[in-house]
Symmetry: C2
Subunit: 344 residues, 2 copies
């Protein structure tokens, strides 16, 4: 009678010693079979492997973690979903991160923290050796976590450039927002638009200014005026609606490029109120290719960030940091694409 898979006679999961006894070798040999198979002679390896399969053995995580001083967990702090905005990019990113991590032998551990304290939550996980490294994502207004983590010598990779600290030397991956906005603007220019408005975030947002520069660049390259065609506001639908109404009245643009889908939805609200049709009367392009962009009639053209690729590069950088000896991966700047829909 074979023991039921993954459960030895006494009811608890099989251990290295159980496998060793069954295969007639020592514990260390089983360990080698699992971690350094090429150290074993072929026939021994086969015998051990058979015992492993028969018992359904998997190494105990806690014991391995204790001995190797590693948890094979990556910490990711998540913030409360902001209701009323289209900022659900995290969904796509998180899934890709989990997937990429798994392939690298890691799991993702989520934690939260006081949104007003950028460092909350990191400390406990670090001191209790619960995670090996962090992925830092919420860097839209500077990145105090980076300096803090670097001070603690905690390995981490940032999704987002260290805008506020050019001297920071942690690895990062980011998406070229300026290129995205430029792409959007050129797309509209290609459709014959000349008076293209920019609807963006307030000036203290590094990302917002970066994206805006892409619009400026494209407009200047074609010799189109930008004066009076730009507006900076909060990232809410209401702000986007008001700002776009003012722009329509004062600057009479034929198209809008927005720093976010949230703002673009504000434009659609204004158009709806005025009986104007997006894509026919006024073109609108958003940023992030959110679900809203995909679903709203007649479809919102939007800049799509390659989040899947970002996650893969982030994990690659993490693998470097966590290898022996640690390697610092090159920073990565990825180029977004444009998803064209009915609004343009």
């Amino acid at each position: 009678m074979t023991p039921s898979l993954g459960r030895s006679a006494n009811g608890s999961p099989p251990t290295l010693a159980d496998v060793a006894e069954r295969a007639g070798v020592s514990r260390q040999t089983v360990s080698n079979a699992v971690n350094n198979p090429d150290l074993l002679r072929a026939d021994t390896l086969a015998r051990v492997q058979l015992a492993i399969d028969e018992l359904g053995y998997l190494p105990n995580r806690a014991a391995r973690n204790l001995r190797t001083r590693a948890s094979h967990l990556i910490g990711l702090r998540i913030l409360p979903a902001q209701e009323g905005t289209a900022n659900a990019t995290m969904d796509r990113f998180v899934h890709s991160l989990v997937e990429a991590s798994r392939e690298a032998g890691y799991h993702v551990l989520l934690f939260t923290g006081d949104p007003t304290d950028p460092v909350a939550g990191y400390d406990d996980l670090l001191r209790s050796t619960a995670v090996d490294a962090f992925v830092v994502t919420d860097t839209y207004l500077g990145n105090p976590q980076a300096a803090w983590l670097a001070g603690r010598r905690a390995p981490f990779v940032a999704f987002g450039r260290p805008w506020d600290d050019p001297g920071a030397d942690h690895p990062w991956v980011d998406v070229d927002g300026a290129a995205g906005a430029e792409l959007a603007t050129k797309h509209l220019i290609g459709r014959g638009h000349e008076r293209i408005a920019w609807l963006g975030w307030r000036k203290d947002s590094f990302i917002g200014e970066d994206r805006r520069s892409g619009w400026t660049r494209a407009m200047r390259a074609h010799g189109f005026a930008t004066t009076g065609l730009a507006s900076r506001t909060e990232d809410t639908v209401a702000s986007g609606r008001e700002a776009s109404a003012v722009l329509l009245d004062e600057a009479v643009p034929s198209a809008f490029v927005c720093a976010s889908d949230t703002l673009a939805m504000g434009v659609l609200h204004t158009l709806a109120e005025r009986g104007l049709h997006p894509g026919r009367d006024v073109a609108v392009v958003g940023f992030d290719d959110s679900m809203v962009a995909q679903l709203v009639p007649p479809g919102l053209t939007s800049v799509r960030q390659p989040l899947e690729e970002v996650a893969v590069m982030v994990v690659r950088a993490l693998e470097g940091l966590l290898s022996h000896p640690p390697r610092r991966a090159d920073d990565v700047l990825l180029t977004p694409a444009l998803t064209v829909r009915g609004s343009s």
Copy 2:
């Protein structure tokens, strides 16, 4: 000179032994100070606590996990975000789950798995003792995970009733979809509508049929006809658009209640194509209160699930399962609310 917080002389985090030495007590006494403070004399406790604070000691997770045979991690499987649908309820739920878990002393570990294999991913985590329990969420088409996990004696709590297996005895938490649809329908009846159509999922969806029954119940209670007013289709915008077009032509409803925001967006597409205004010409109510519902002009009235509360109840049930001796919490059925917006 005091050692820097959280790092002892040799560079690694302080251990129980370090604290014991500093406080002049044994390891066990420090352990008791952390886990059973009431076993210590007040002055001893104070002395140990001081040493703990000075050294910035936190128990090593791996060592504690190994000894106690628990990881204090809860596994949550996430599926790829379905692009083109409004199904982002997970965002809200996941955040609440992480928050509630933290308060109970647990962390959430994410994993993925082959979407076509409902059991993939669970096995490895279980056998390697990486998690203490699971939260099972993707139960829309039956719940094979439940039977499988129960067979493995793995503790888990389901978000979603065991529709397909009334004999299942695992704890679950769910939202009363019928009550939600009834709420939506009554809301429309209160606004004077009598010909209210149902736009739902295919018949093999338990959740879809449950929600539909709420519509039926409300309509019958007011003596309104339902014949010809219901349509079942795929959960995509395109399907919702086609089905609503057919219903408008053949049954001439003045309002739609939908099984999802995705389908409701399909209705909005049809209305937009025909130059009809949601909320003015035809009323539309969705289900899930997604970001799309919040952002689309003029706002989509939608049934909002109390996901925060679901998460809290799920964690409460988990705490029961993981306590000694295990307790099975009572099943919970929560009632959703209606968020009224411009579309009705």
